[in-house]
Structures are given as structure tokens and as C-alpha cells.
């Protein structure tokens, strides 16, 4: 019997639901949740897309994908239809041919800017974060960026301490920027961040209280579909040891 969906699993299905048929989708390092979302989109939602990865394994049979402590090693997506390098994918991105990329963030602000660089000042860091990896490079280039982050006021801030990913550039250019948190789905728009959907059992007020910026609401936000038993079975097949919960999104 698969377990009950936890907020982490709802994040996975939320991210998965944002992938559309025919798109080219890339995930990077420390991206266990995006990896699961891609597998979920393929297997549970029946989405068909081009699967690209920092592991340079291209179009692995989704059934064979496994969550490991690294989402970039050769054994997470071991049976790809060939090696396609990250350089190759990033060149496609520069040509505007990559549709979807996932990014984590330590801070996200009202404009969709993200910070993966530093808490405090760059010169005197309070916390030295891991760095944005491809964030700065890809933010102006990829059609749809799917962020994931914790839904609290330390993470969802009025202004990021450092603009690693220029969300403002994206919003200005009309590129889609969506954020899956452990409470909600937020979209960054010219009008501001809009609360698009909520995890089951989370209220608008709760979502607003957890954000350090104003969340716009248009009508009644949808309720995100939690993975059902089939969906949970799929997630657990890919992550039997529950490594996805280690990032403590609940």
C-alpha cells in the first residue's frame, strides 16, 4: 500500500502538472523533486516531452529513473537514448528552444527574482549559499521556469538579498515563472505574484500569511490535486527510500 501524499508529494504533482506535451524539459543538480515531477508527468499524467538532464542522459525510459542523493550522476537516469551534454542543452536554451527548467531558491521576491547566492551581503555573508548554478544564465532564456521553495516569510521575501535569478527580466519579457511551494502555486506576473492554487487544506489566509510579499488572488484559487494511490505508487517506485522528504518540505 502506498503512503498518503505529504506536502512534498503535492509539490511533485504540482510541478508535474506544469509540463505540457511536446515541450523540452531540463533538470539540474539537487533536483530530486523535479526528477520525480518529470517521471510523474510522463507516467501519471501521460505527458510526452523531451527529457533532458544535467546527468547528460537523454530520454531515459521514465520507469528506470531513480531518486539518488545526486540528481546529476550517471545512475539516476541510466538508460538514456544517448549522451546529450549540458552544453548542448544550454546552447538550445540560448536559441530559445528550451521550454521548461526547474530551479530551487533560498529566497524569492515579489518580482520573481531568486537568490541562491548569499544571505546577508556578498562581501560579508551570513550564510554562503551554494550558488545559482545555471539560474542567472537561464532566467532570461527559458520559456517557463518552475521554481520550488519553502512557503515561509524567510523564503518568500519582499526583496531578495541578492538577485541571482532576474525574475523581473522574465516578467517584463512575458516569460512564465511559476513557484510550487509546500502550500501553494504562485505565478509571477506584471501585476505581481498571483496565488494560482493551494495545497489541499491550505487557506488563502494561510498562504498569504506565509509570504513576505502581497499575494494577489483572482477569484477562488484552485485546489491542487494530491497524488492518488496510483500516483503515490509511482512516486514511491522512483523513491522507495523517501529521499524526497530529506529537504523537509513536509
Amino acid at each position: 500500500m502506498p503512503g498518503s501524499p505529504r506536502p512534498t508529494d503535492v509539490m511533485v504533482s504540482c510541478m508535474a502538472s506544469l509540463i505540457r506535451d511536446g515541450e523540452s524539459v531540463y533538470h539540474g543538480l539537487t533536483s530530486q523533486l523535479p526528477l520525480l515531477a518529470m517521471a510523474y508527468a510522463w507516467r501519471r499524467l501521460g505527458r510526452r516531452f523531451t527529457w533532458l538532464s544535467v546527468s547528460e542522459s537523454y530520454m531515459p525510459p521514465p520507469e528506470t529513473v531513480r531518486v539518488l542523493p545526486s540528481s546529476g550522476g550517471p545512475y539516476a537516469e541510466p538508460y538514456g537514448a544517448g549522451v546529450v551534454t549540458t552544453m548542448d542543452v544550454f546552447d538550445l536554451a540560448a536559441q530559445g528552444r528550451i521550454d521548461v527548467m526547474f530551479f530551487g531558491a533560498a529566497q524569492v521576491d515579489a518580482q520573481g527574482n531568486t537568490n541562491l547566492t548569499v544571505i546577508g551581503s556578498y562581501e560579508r555573508p551570513r550564510v554562503k549559499l551554494p550558488g545559482g548554478a545555471a539560474t542567472a544564465y537561464l532566467f532570461p532564456l527559458v520559456r517557463r521556469i518552475i521554481l520550488w521553495a519553502r512557503h515561509d516569510r524567510r523564503t518568500l521575501v519582499e526583496r531578495v538579498d541578492f538577485i541571482t535569478g532576474p525574475g523581473r527580466v522574465r516578467v517584463e519579457r512575458g516569460l512564465e515563472t511559476l513557484l510550487c511551494t509546500n502550500k501553494a502555486l504562485i505565478e509571477f506576473t506584471r501585476e505581481g505574484p498571483i496565488l494560482r492554487a493551494l495545497h489541499p487544506g491550505i487557506s488563502v489566509e494561510e498562504a498569504r500569511a506565509g509570504a513576505g510579499f502581497d499575494l494577489l488572488v483572482e477569484g477562488e484559487p484552485r485546489v491542487l490535486e494530491a497524488p492518488d494511490a496510483i500516483g503515490m505508487a509511482i512516486i514511491e517506485e522512483h523513491d522507495p527510500h523517501g529521499l524526497r522528504y530529506l529537504q523537509r518540505y513536509g
Binding site: 542523493p69 545526486s70 551534454t85 550558488g131 544564465y137 532576474p166 523581473r168
Partner: protein
């Protein structure tokens, strides 16, 4: 540039080629194909104060920082992935002992391409709008320029030319003709951009074993200065087609490094392997 000179040396001889003040780069990413044998030898040699440049380093960098081998870092991300921030890097940077210039993947690739292609710089797409631009303009590593063909502003990245590349490959002949299988990351660029290249390989093969390969060589003898036989030389990181990452050892590293005991882990796990690699 000697041609057919054999470059097969021991691990000790190889890392003695790394001069004081050098900036190094390493093969692989986080937990894949790190040149751990070469890194261990560099630590054992007692090298200090080197620079480091890479796209997405992990274990090798954290170890080098913990050991004091590296005192300045340029990278797009330094992470132990699910095991959290690279603890030795984080601590050293927060305490001001190690300088960190954050870069971004596309720009690291552009800089390595310029280095590999013998060019002073390369443009890079994206990036504009990120505060990284200010950092790099200050360091004179990037410049916002105008496209000479009228297409607007673009970031120019100065060539990245590491002094030394430490590369772990699948196989190599004694002259430095090597082959990497599976994911390449930017290793073939690193080989070409660096002034001195040390290749460790799972297998040393005859040149004849390379004949009629359907794909281009990862390096030629023109690129490589020293070759070392180091089977398992990426342990505990993964080697495509040969062995997976040793997650037990890596988890232990992450835990011990968080406690400031990275060097203990080194003494326990990596130092004992040095003799197997002919130290």
C-alpha cells in the same frame, strides 16, 4: 612539444607538476567522475593556497578547501546536493578564509570555450539582470558590451585558462590520448583550456586500442602533460559504466565535514587508497 614521449608517471610525480599559486580545475560534477586520486595526492603532498575554477563541483572541492589546498574559488555552484551545502566551502567563505566568486553555468562554459578556442573572450547569452554581472565587472572577468552587429547588449566573458586540469578518464594511452565515456560535462573543454593537463585513467591502453574509434578523442598527446594509472580513481564519486557513487562514504563525508572533520575522513578513507595508486 614532444610527440611520442611517454607521459606515464606515478601519482606523486604527477601532482608535483602543480606549481605554487596555480589555479586548478577538476573533471566531473558534484558526485560524478571527480579526479579523487589526483586530489588525494595533492592533499597528501601538502599543496596550499591554490585557486579553483569549475562549473558545479562537489566532493573534490569541499575536500580541497577543507585541506587548505584551495584558497579561492570560482564556481557556479558548490553543493553536496541532498547532503546540503558544501560544508567546508561554506564555513571557509563565511569566515573569510576563502574567496568565492560566484559564476553561472553558461558563463563558465563561455569562458572555458574562449580558453579552449584560443580566444580572448566569448559572448554569453542570458545573464543580464543578475547581480552576478556587477561582481564580475568588478573582477574584470565579464564586461557588458554592445553586439558589433547591432543586436544590443551582451555579456562578454574573459577566457578562463586554468593553470592545471585534473581529469579522470575511462582510458588513456601512455602519450595522453584519452577517452571519456558517457557524460562529458565540460571536461573536454577543460583539457583544452588549461595550460597543464594531468589525466588519471581507469585503464592505460595501447594506442592501438584507440584506432577506429567512431568518436573524437577526448584529449590528444598535444593536450596532456602527464598520465597516471588510477583504477577506481574517482571513488567515492561515480564513474559512468564502471561504478556508482559510494553513498555510504559520501554521507559519512558530509556528516564529518559538517563537524569540521573532513580531514579525518580523508585519513580514514582516501589516504589508505593512495598506495594502491602507486603513491
Amino acid at each position: 612539444m614532444p610527440v611520442a614521449a611517454e607521459k606515464l608517471v606515478g601519482l606523486r610525480e604527477a601532482v608535483e607538476l602543480v606549481e605554487e599559486g596555480s589555479t586548478i580545475t577538476v573533471s566531473g560534477i558534484t558526485f560524478s567522475r571527480n579526479p579523487t586520486a589526483l586530489v588525494a595526492a595533492l592533499i597528501e603532498r601538502g599543496a596550499r593556497g591554490l585557486g579553483f575554477v569549475d562549473r558545479e563541483p562537489g566532493l573534490a572541492l569541499d575536500l580541497l578547501v577543507a585541506a587548505g589546498v584551495v584558497s579561492s574559488v570560482r564556481a557556479a555552484m558548490a553543493t553536496l546536493e541532498l547532503y546540503g551545502l558544501a560544508p567546508s566551502v561554506r564555513r571557509a567563505v563565511e569566515e573569510g578564509r576563502v574567496g568565492f566568486l560566484e559564476d553561472t553555468c553558461g558563463a563558465v562554459i563561455a569562458g572555458l570555450r574562449a580558453g579552449a578556442y584560443g580566444l580572448p573572450f566569448m559572448p554569453v547569452a542570458g545573464v543580464l539582470g543578475s547581480q552576478l554581472v556587477e561582481l564580475h565587472e568588478r573582477e574584470d572577468t565579464w564586461r557588458v558590451i554592445r553586439d558589433p552587429f547591432g543586436g544590443g547588449e551582451v555579456v562578454a566573458v574573459r577566457a578562463i585558462r586554468p593553470d592545471v586540469a585534473l581529469i579522470h578518464a575511462h582510458y588513456c594511452d601512455p602519450y595522453g590520448n584519452c577517452v571519456i565515456e558517457g557524460p562529458r560535462y565540460e571536461d573536454e573543454l577543460k583539457i583544452r583550456a588549461s595550460r597543464l593537463v594531468i589525466v588519471s585513467a581507469e585503464e592505460i591502453v595501447d594506442t592501438d586500442a584507440l584506432r577506429r574509434l567512431p568518436h573524437p578523442l577526448s584529449s590528444t598527446s598535444l593536450h596532456v602533460d602527464a598520465v597516471v594509472h588510477a583504477p577506481g580513481g574517482a571513488w567515492p564519486t561515480a564513474m559512468h559504466g564502471r561504478y556508482g557513487a559510494d553513498w555510504g562514504a559520501i554521507e559519512e563525508y558530509a556528516r564529518m565535514a559538517r563537524e569540521g572533520r573532513a580531514l579525518e575522513w580523508f585519513s580514514k578513507h582516501l589516504r589508505p587508497r593512495l598506495s594502491g595508486w602507486g603513491w
